[in-house]
């Protein structure tokens, strides 16, 4: 489970830091030490993501009971693990690059350019965090619509009124998930008289209003693209120095943010792209490439529907919603028991998803907030180090 792996990993790298700190760092000796640190950092990043990759369960549609094989790709639990890994990488990154180091080292080329780039990516990721948090609020809304449907369809015997009630909620649910930014704006006015639009429309506008707290022209897709710019692997002599962990951390940050935007409804996801360049030649990036391919595959399957996010629970909700709407459309009393059993199964599954969301969304949001804090804190620490470096190079008077 995520918590335990995190602890283990944390333990191992914290141990390493204390070793490093106990050393008397001579100028020559520290070089070997540094090489070793960097290699370990690379290895850990590779390990973390390969563990995530290997424990990602293949089949998403019926994974509710088969949790032993791992979490489904892009499910709430999986995203939480991803963020756990991110937080660990981030902590280790700081240990390698910042702790116990003479601050002047991070001001020397090529870090004088790479570090500001990373810090800039950090600031950009803060907006992504906020957008994703808002997006998860939108998912909570979907959850409530699904809960209404579940509550209605759970009734026995199932009457006409409850089916209509469920259909209304489900139509809103499905419409919300189909919604993209362009057509939602057109429907944006809420009128006083709400009759004649029993289903769908009302909630479409509601859905739009959920991403409303981001700045007007803010686009998650553009933000991710901006984070990707200037992201190139260090070459030649640079690849053995601190440029390497800078690049790795940037890549991990971009990957995690890209994944979040792919999964969660966000303002303007159009044009996000199913891929972004990852260094194929570097070992530590392989598991991330593997994950990216899986996500891209998922994307291709779903993209024609123009949906709002690949979150596994949402996808399943969508499917179940469609099939239950179908059922509602043809509902007649009495329904044959075979059909009823199937509906019952679907309702149960929908109920399970709601429960998962109820349990998982809040902690996921908290974790995103933790990522936010961490990025801010690191940024502050790096700026402080830059500050100190500047201080120590006071022009001789």
């Amino acid at each position: 489970m995520p918590a335990t792996t995190e602890n283990n990993n944390q333990g191992s790298f914290l141990g390493r830091i204390s070793i490093r700190r106990n050393q008397v760092m001579s100028m020559d000796g520290s070089h070997d030490q540094e090489m070793e640190d960097l290699e370990l950092f690379q290895k850990h990043i590779g390990d973390r993501f390969s563990e995530l990759l290997s424990s990602t369960s293949e089949d998403s549609s019926s994974s509710s009971s088969s949790s032993s094989s791992g979490d489904a790709l892009l499910s709430i639990a999986w995203l939480r693990r991803l963020l756990d890994e991110f937080l660990c990488c981030e902590a280790e990154f700081k240990a390698v690059v910042l702790m116990g180091r003479d601050p002047s080292q991070i001001t020397k080329p090529p870090l004088d350019k790479l570090l500001p780039d990373l810090l800039d990516r950090g600031v950009k990721s803060l907006d992504v965090c906020n957008a994703v948090t808002l997006g998860l609020d939108a998912v909570k809304n979907l959850q409530r619509l699904a809960e209404i449907a579940v509550a209605a369809l759970e009734q026995t015997p199932l009457g006409d009124g409850q089916v209509r009630r469920a259909k209304k909620a489900l139509s809103a649910l499905v419409a919300a998930m189909l919604n993209d930014d362009s057509n939602a704006a057109a429907k944006g006015t809420e009128r006083t008289r709400s009759f004649g639009r029993r289903a769908g429309n009302t909630n479409a506008t509601k859905y739009k209003s959920l991403s409303w707290s981001m700045a007007k022209n803010w686009s998650a897709a553009k933000q991710i693209h901006a984070m990707m710019s200037n992201l190139t692997a260090p070459r030649g002599a640079e690849s053995s120095g601190l440029a390497q962990p800078m690049y790795m951390m940037s890549t991990v940050l971009v990957f995690v943010m890209w994944t979040l935007v792919a999964a969660v409804p966000c303002q303007e996801r159009n044009g996000l792209g199913t891929h972004f360049p990852l260094p194929r030649q570097l070992g530590w990036a392989q598991p991330m490439i593997g994950l990216q391919e899986k996500i891209a595959e998922e994307w291709k399957k779903k993209e024609k529907k123009g949906n709002v996010g690949l979150l596994e629970e949402m996808q399943r909700m969508d499917k179940l919603g469609q099939s239950l709407i179908e059922f509602a459309d043809s509902f007649q009393f009495p329904t044959e028991t075979e059909r009823m059993d199937e509906v019952k199964k679907h309702v149960e599954e929908l109920g399970d998803i709601c429960k998962k969301m109820e349990e998982g969304l809040e902690p996921l949001q908290q974790q995103i907030r933790e990522v936010f804090h961490r990025v801010v804190r690191s940024r502050t620490e790096f700026l402080l180090a830059l500050d100190q470096a500047a201080k120590s190079t006071t022009p001789a008077l």
Binding site: V123, G159, G161
Partner: protein, 667 residues
């Protein structure tokens, strides 16, 4: 709980209003309300209003002016009847009843939405300025003599005469009138203040100022519907509708308050000057948001949902304001993590102060478990702003230490850095209260053992009784002087270097003396040191310039072949006069251009120069004048009288080049 107490009041108001109307229109439906409704009639009523079934039902609303008000009560009665029968009837007949309930609930959901939308009183930011003292006293009976809005007056008179009888028709009738008129919202909010003053006093001392977002009769209707939706298991629909309508209303209020949606990236990109304006506006808007807008939303939730079910009011409140609250705080958050630089300190402190002020209100408005994240975020931003302020102070110290300009200020006057730093620290002293809370550690100063030549020494043990902030101010002055000492070395003329130090340290002393806050913080001990320092610089200047000049007015070396009595060497004497003259002329020419901006200091230094120069010259002249005057061309050697020099000294340190030569008395 005065919250619920007040909600009860409203409830009671509305109730009496309705009874009042009913008494005037004794109708068939009224009769039905008194009696219990037969199930069949109830079903008929529900079906009559099934909007999927008839055109008429689709076009009319039950809870609106268009239809007889009693119809609404009848409808509610019918729903109650159906619900009651659901729990008692046998399974076989329940299907029909069940269907009726679904129809009724769909209907009520639409009615609920319609009431919310059509009765929303537009939020007017001007009625909610954040100073309660301006309006509240007007509403208190003690201030009846002051001119008032006629409607307020009316309202007040009625409360004065019958403070406890708010349930009488005389008081509720005008209330009703105001309520149904959205334009009179300001009056209406005053009315609600009267009520709160009467019913509970603690609100009047709080800075929270709620207004009524929806008139109380509509609130009553909403509450009636909410109760029924909840009891039929339609709570989620209710919350959904409530949240979506109220959120767009809050959105509209945000636009009125000019609260912008800026991403963190946007804020980092904007020029600081633009941000300063935005911070100013944000502070105002945030106060209105927390104390009026959010507080009123919370009150509305309580009025409608309090007692209807467990923490439904909280759920609805968060549904409405979570997004807006995050948006609001996002700006402050973006500022708190922006890059630190000295010019940002004071606006960040303003923001910190404003948020500190708001914290108790935030804690009240967001007191529930579900709104914990908002509370936590506000606290986090506050602590980050504090951290930013600390960071900026250290950044500032660093900048003062490193300020790199090397070009000497002409005339040795006050360096722009000195002015800047002193203005900065006097602003710091204006923010003393806040900063004393934030700055809790003393500066990391250099010490004589650190061996770092880039940082000045400062012995912290001398300032043990001072607050950390005080020590920081002293430290800033120390590093300012350290930097100025460095700059003084770029003057070629050592005298000018001393004059420069004298001027600048004197300026520092004047600045500190000029502000009682600053003086207290820096303390007299350190002020004495500073005074000593500029006096020393003055002395050094005089030594540097005048020892050389006065050297030529000494007796030694003028007497031929040693013996004192053996007479004076005329040629040596002539040389002395000539050299003295030319040296003095040179000093006069250069130092007239030098500048001491402080007139008193300038005067003092001139006096001090004169006190040394004039007696020496007078006595030299007295002793040796006769030797020169007895020879040829005495005017070539004794060019200046004592008075000439006295006048000449007055040209010093004016910063103006002297065009002509020294004036002579003879001219």
């Amino acid at each position: 709980m005065s919250h619920s107490h007040r909600a009860e009041d409203k409830y009671f108001f509305a109730h009496t209003q309705r009874n009042f109307t009913q008494q005037n229109s004794l109708s068939f439906s009224h009769f039905l309300i008194m009696e219990s409704l037969p199930l069949e009639t109830a079903e008929k009523i529900i079906l009559r209003w099934d909007s999927t079934a008839s055109e008429d039902a689709r076009d009319k609303m039950i809870f609106s002016g268009g239809v007889d008000r009693d119809e609404a009560d009848l409808y509610l009665q019918a729903v109650d009847e159906i619900q009651r029968s659901l729990s008692s009837v046998s399974v076989s007949s329940s299907d029909k009843v069940n269907s009726a309930i679904q129809i009724a609930m769909a209907r009520l959901e639409d009615e609920f939405r319609n009431i919310l939308i059509s009765h929303t009183i537009p939020f007017d930011p001007s009625t909610s300025e954040d100073d309660p003292s301006q309006t509240l006293p007007d509403l208190l009976p003690s201030s009846t003599s002051s001119p008032k809005h006629p409607l307020t007056n009316l309202e007040q008179d009625s409360t004065e005469t019958e403070p406890e009888t708010t349930n009488t028709t005389t008081t509720t009738t005008p209330l009703l009138r105001f309520n149904s008129d959205g334009a009179a919202s300001s009056v209406h909010s005053s009315v609600s203040s009267v009520n709160s003053v009467n019913s509970s006093s603690y609100r009047s001392t709080s800075s929270i100022r709620e207004i009524d977002l929806i008139p109380s009769d509509a609130v009553y209707d909403l509450r009636c519907i909410a109760e029924r939706m909840l009891s039929s298991g339609y709570l989620r629909e209710c919350i959904q509708v409530y949240g979506s309508v109220r959120k767009s209303s809050v959105d509209a209020s945000f636009r009125k308050l000019h609260i912008e949606k800026l991403s963190i990236g946007d804020v980092q990109r904007l020029e600081w000057e633009q941000l300063e304006n935005k911070i100013r506006r944000w502070i105002k808007a945030a106060k209105v948001c927390v104390r009026t807008l959010f507080a009123s939303e919370k009150k509305l939730c309580e009025q409608i949902f309090d007692g209807v079910g467990t923490s439904i009011d909280d759920a609805c409140f968060m549904e409405t304001v979570k997004g807006p609250a995050i948006q609001l705080f996002n700006f402050a958050e973006a500022i708190s993590i922006s890059r630190r630089s000295p010019e940002k300190l004071f606006k960040i402190l303003d923001l910190h102060d404003a948020l500190t002020d708001l914290m108790p209100d935030i804690d009240v408005v967001f007191d529930s478990k579900s709104s914990e994240s908002i509370r936590v975020q506000a606290a986090e931003i506050l602590s980050r702003l504090g951290e930013a302020a600390r960071g900026i102070l250290s950044e500032f110290e660093n900048a003062v230490l490193k300020e790199p300009s090397r070009v000497p200020v002409p005339g040795g006057t006050i360096h722009p850095l000195t002015r800047y730093v002193m203005n900065y620290i006097s602003l710091i002293s204006d923010y003393k209260v806040t900063l004393n809370e934030l700055i809790v550690s003393k500066p990391s100063t250099g010490s004589r053992y650190s061996g770092d030549v880039g940082i000045p020494d400062m012995d912290l043990s001398e300032y043990e009784e001072k607050t950390p902030l005080d020590v920081h101010l002293i430290w800033i002055i120390v590093i300012l002087q350290f930097n100025l000492d460095g700059k003084s070395k770029h003057y070629r003329d050592a005298s000018l270097a001393h004059l420069f130090i004298m001027n600048n340290v004197h300026y520092i002393v004047q600045k500190v003396r000029g502000s009682s806050e600053l003086r207290e913080m820096i303390g007299d001990d350190y002020l004495k040191k500073l005074t000593g320092k500029f006096r020393q610089a003055a002395t050094r200047y005089q030594r540097e310039t005048w020892v050389k000049v006065l050297y030529y007015l000494r007796d030694e070396g003028l007497h031929a072949s040693g013996g004192f009595s053996s007479g004076v060497s005329k040629s040596a004497l002539r040389d002395r006069f000539k050299t003295f003259n030319s040296m003095f002329e040179e000093v006069h020419r250069t130092q007239a251009v030098w500048l001491i901006p402080d007139s008193q200091l300038r005067e003092e230094l001139r006096i001090s120069i004169s006190e040394k120069l004039i007696p020496a010259y007078r006595s030299f002249l007295g002793r040796f004048r006769s030797y020169i005057e007895s020879g040829r061309h005495p005017e070539n050697y004794i060019k200046y009288s004592v008075e000439d020099l006295e006048y000449a000294v007055l040209d010093f340190f004016e910063g103006i080049p002297v065009s002509q030569h020294l004036r002579r008395r003879s001219e």
